[in-house]
Symmetry: C2
Subunit: 193 residues, 2 copies
DNA sequence: CCGATTAGTATCGGGTCGATACTGAAAAGT
DNA sequence: ACTTTTCAGTATCGACCCGATACTAATCGG
């Protein structure tokens, strides 16, 4: 019975606070801060257009300097690997190390969320997702910020064959699994549903 | 299209990150951190059962010591007022000062959100709100955490007359406006819709 | 009236975070 | 070709967040 967008905001922020507290608990054993786990989770979902410090900074809403520090720590801990890009040697590419993957696997940061949503029907989840997705898209347009999303919703995504896709913006070929990762060049398809 | 709860989590966290960045921007002029504004926003919505440091700590998912520090800063800045409770002299009650109200009014922290949701129909907002509200309730049950919510959804709320309500748990009389504030003793009504 | 519990504060240290200044690589102007 | 500008990322610094621990003061329970 509540149509007020502010109530929705309230809920989003509260749930995010709780999940942040969950992350804090999950990372306490390894003495990792919430932001560290957030970064690891991001990297576990990033694709070739989003696995850079800059993209991570945009995603987390932090400055590149701050993110650089975070990555330094994760690197020293052996949770991520950094390597230079071949064509543009300014950019650093990031990926989880096996230790990082292992950590995420054991921490199960999303477990509490999955439990909390167990009673919500798939249909309602889908509707809520769709509404928030649209909110996010509008938000990002307003701020002219970069978008994040998977290629499955993206206007640039072209299907070449059963298993091969192509990003129309960059021209690169993408494998099926990669199209389900988190891209930074995402442009939302309208009326995709 | 997407029934996966994890996608919804992704969106919630991302939107929360962006709003946090908004808060950072909004508070930069006054050199206030996001958590300070969050606390002010909370206090602007708290009722007599939730306007204490302890409740704020539960709400933000932080420890009482941390919150105590935050409140110290806000007090020194003249943005809040602290006063002792009459019956239990251990508890401190909090309220926004006029300066604090003024600050919130000018900062308009939710403006970006209202813009971002302008294209979402009231109906979809309502559905998303309902799904997230239920998620929050389940989450809080799982963690045996205290609940937050307005009396309008609460099982304890009794209507005495047109304008007078009563909290069945505490026995206090509540005015109409107060039933729309954020309570800490909230227990969700099932099938309220 | 004495121990146990509870609300809140004080202090300390590790760590986040933005600001600023910097390095080195790539692009752009001449 | 060579300079200038822009861009990705790092280094350093200082303000502040945050939890842990220890503490005070008030209430509760017998």
């Amino acid at each position: 019975m509540d149509k007020n967008p502010l109530v929705l905001l309230e809920l989003v922020e509260r749930l995010a606070n709780l999940m942040r507290a969950e992350l804090r608990k999950a990372g306490a054993d390894e003495s990792l801060q919430p932001v560290h786990l957030h970064a690891l989770i991001y990297l576990s979902k990033a694709n070739r257009y989003s696995n850079t410090p800059q993209a991570l900074a945009a995603y987390l809403g932090l400055t590149k300097g701050t993110v650089s520090q975070t990555l330094l720590i994760l690197d020293r801990r052996g949770l991520i690997e950094r390597y230079q890009d071949d064509v543009d040697r300014r950019v650093v590419r990031l990926r989880l190390s096996t230790a990082g993957e292992q950590l995420l696997y054991e921490a199960q940061p999303a477990l509490a969320w999955q439990n909390a949503t167990r009673n919500i029907s798939p249909n309602r989840i889908r509707n809520a997702t769709s509404a928030l997705r649209e909110t996010l898209a509008t938000f990002q347009e307003d701020n002219e910020g970069a978008m994040f999303g998977s290629c499955t919703d993206c206007t640039h995504c072209q299907k070449l064959s059963q298993r091969i896709f192509r990003c129309g913006l960059m021209g690169d070929r993408l494998s099926g699994p990669e199209t389900r990762r988190l891209c930074w060049l995402h442009e939302a398809k309208r009326e995709g549903e």
